[in-house]
């Protein structure tokens, strides 16, 4: 072996040991990274489980037939939450009926029709910013615009309109993003078959984006269901014995019931309030979980 070759192979041997040491270090770093990220993930899950467990532990004792179907007595210290459950359903239902069509149509416009100009960029930015506005600000806006200016009074419809303003950006953004995930070549395939743009959207793009749109809408509405601030000035009341009979009625609501009891009632009944929280969390959780299950079933069918 010539001296040059020997030197070369010697160099290679050194390089190989270096390489091994580097690989060992890299494996060590990776193990630490896995441990740290895993621990953080576990901590986050732990907090969620703790919060849920705490609510269930304190609230489960309150859950019985009278609690779910009765009216509040003794300023809410006794009795049930039926009017609050119905009120929440009515307000969220009205909000959904307003938000989903408007939001989906706005999302379709932004994703499929809007040109990329300065104006549409400003519109997009405004929508993103709308999602960041604190909910109490929506509450004040609702009071000014819907309760007073539009003269709807403190009512289900005024509260639902307020919640709609708050939820719209979520639904619009979810719709736009779901539509953008549909590959361009599927749209082109439809156009190349002689379909119009509208038909392409209606028959191909929108059905494919459906799961994303519905999940986004449900998450937005779930948040609306738990909000207190937007309904505080726009229609929620402390106590009602009957359920609302018109869109212009005032209403009881689960989150507002909790807030009002804790802040305004001396010697409030802790167990009933935990129970109310449990009903709210269970309802929102149930809908979210159903949406997730449905979505994953859809995703199994559709992968691009």
């Amino acid at each position: 072996m010539s001296g040059k070759l020997k030197a070369l192979s010697g160099g290679r041997a050194v390089a190989r040991t270096d390489g091994r040491a580097r690989a060992r270090r890299a494996r060590g770093v990776e193990a630490v990274a896995r441990l740290v990220t895993g621990a953080i993930a576990l901590a986050v899950i732990g907090v969620a489980v703790f919060v849920l467990g705490y609510i269930v532990y304190h609230g489960i004792g309150a859950i019985n037939w009278e609690f779910l179907t009765g009216v509040p007595r003794d300023q809410g210290r006794q009795g049930g939450t039926f009017p609050a459950i119905v009120g929440t359903l009515l307000v969220v239902g009205t909000t959904a009926a307003l938000t989903v069509p408007i939001g989906v149509m706005a999302g379709i416009y932004l994703a499929e029709f809007a040109p990329r100009t300065a104006t549409t960029r400003v519109i997009r930015l405004s929508i993103t910013n709308m999602a960041g506005v604190p909910s109490i600000v929506y509450g004040l806006f609702g009071l000014a615009a819907f309760v007073l200016l539009a003269d709807l009074g403190r009512s289900i419809i005024a509260a639902a309109l307020t919640l709609t303003c708050m939820t719209l950006p979520v639904v619009i953004t979810a719709t736009e993003e779901a539509l953008r995930q549909i590959p361009q070549d599927v749209r082109q395939a439809s156009l190349a078959l002689g379909a119009t743009k509208l038909r392409t959207i209606g028959r191909v793009v929108l059905p494919a984006a459906g799961p994303g749109i519905i999940t986004g809408s449900i998450l937005g509405l779930a948040r609306a269901a738990g909000e207190t601030a937007p309904i505080l000035f726009t229609g929620a009341v402390f106590q009602m014995r009957q359920i609302p009979d018109s869109p212009l009625s005032q209403f009881m609501s689960l989150p507002y019931h909790i807030y009002a009891q804790v802040t305004s009632v001396p010697n409030w009944n802790e167990e009933l309030i935990w129970g109310t929280a449990l009903v709210l969390v269970a309802g929102v959780g149930f809908v979210s979980v159903m949406a997730a299950i449905w979505r994953s079933a859809q995703r199994k069918k559709v992968t691009w």
Binding site: Q188, A189, L191, A192, L193, G194, A195, V204, K301
Partner: protein, 287 residues
């Protein structure tokens, strides 16, 4: 006369209110589906990318467009069904006629044109729906609603794309359950379902394995007796195997637009090309 010819005669009756019936009837005496391009140019905004293309695309034959990446083959292909209209800033110049009819005229409805000139894309792109609904999509767009009619069209089209035997018992299955090659043949069937005169294929095999490629090539050879086929391909052997006529395009610099360098019978192009650039490309010296 085979199934597709019968099918096309049916289509003329169906599309009668849309098309100029007498002109179409006169044309159908000859085989319909021949293009004539004169001085066709394409610009993206102000950037001229193709210039001065003259070519005849005969009916019932396979014309292959070859050339290096970025030479405008796909762009030229999209001129033939006005798909460039969908990309706002693209302008097409010159004249393109299909069976003597100017397809760039304002009076030509791109929606109608695209039912006569189908397209198959580079990647299989079935719609997220059942196999049946994929094929029935075009006919339904044309307003065909009756289940019996649709059943006939779906079967014919799937047979035309050589997929019928594999899927006849699972038409309700989701299209995404098919393999890549089957999906591409489904896309061919979907394009055939509007009973087109011409089928444009933009590198239809580039995402497929050799066996699927072979099946698609066999399908193309089967189809050319009834449908004019224009295929863009990067695969020289493929062009040589399946095409009757080959057109070689080249963009010699980014500052200059692409030109059609040479067009001729495939056999001549591959054995005895006139232009030295064609020879270099075909023998693999560049591109």
């Amino acid at each position: 006369m085979n199934v597709l010819e019968i099918a096309r005669d049916g289509m003329i009756a169906v599309a009668a209110p849309l098309a100029d019936v007498s002109a179409r009837a006169a044309e159908s005496a000859h085989a319909p589906g021949s293009f004539k391009l004169s001085d066709v140019g394409v610009a993206y905004g102000r950037d001229l990318v193709i210039e001065g293309v003259r070519m005849d695309i005969p009916a019932q034959a396979v014309t292959a467009l070859i050339g290096p990446s970025g030479c405008g083959k796909s762009t030229l292909l999209r001129c033939l069904n006005r798909m460039n209209d969908e990309f706002g800033t693209v302008h097409v110049y010159g004249s393109i006629t299909l069976d003597g009819e100017n397809i760039m005229a304002r009076s030509m409805d791109p929606v109608e044109l695209r039912m006569r000139v189908g397209q198959v894309f580079q990647r299989p792109n079935p719609f997220p729906m059942s196999i049946y609904d994929n094929v029935a999509y075009g006919p339904r767009t044309q307003g065909i609603r009756r289940k019996d009619d649709l059943d006939v069209i779906v079967e014919e089209s799937l047979r035309g794309a050589a997929l019928w035997e594999e899927v006849k018992n699972s038409l309700k299955r989701h299209a995404f359950e098919l393999s890549g090659g089957q999906q591409q043949r489904l896309c061919i069937a979907r394009a055939l379902a509007t009973r087109p005169e011409v089928l444009l294929m933009d590198e239809p095999c580039s995402a497929l394995d050799p066996i699927s490629t072979q099946q698609i090539e066999d399908t193309i050879t089967e189809l050319k007796s009834t449908v004019t086929i224009v295929i863009v391909t990067h695969n020289m052997q493929q062009a040589a195997r399946i095409s009757d006529q080959t057109a070689f395009m080249l963009r010699e610099s980014l500052e200059a637009p692409a030109h059609l360098i040479e067009i001729g019978a495939t056999r001549t192009m591959f054995t005895n090309p006139e232009d030295v650039r064609t020879e270099s490309y075909i023998t693999g010296r560049f591109g």
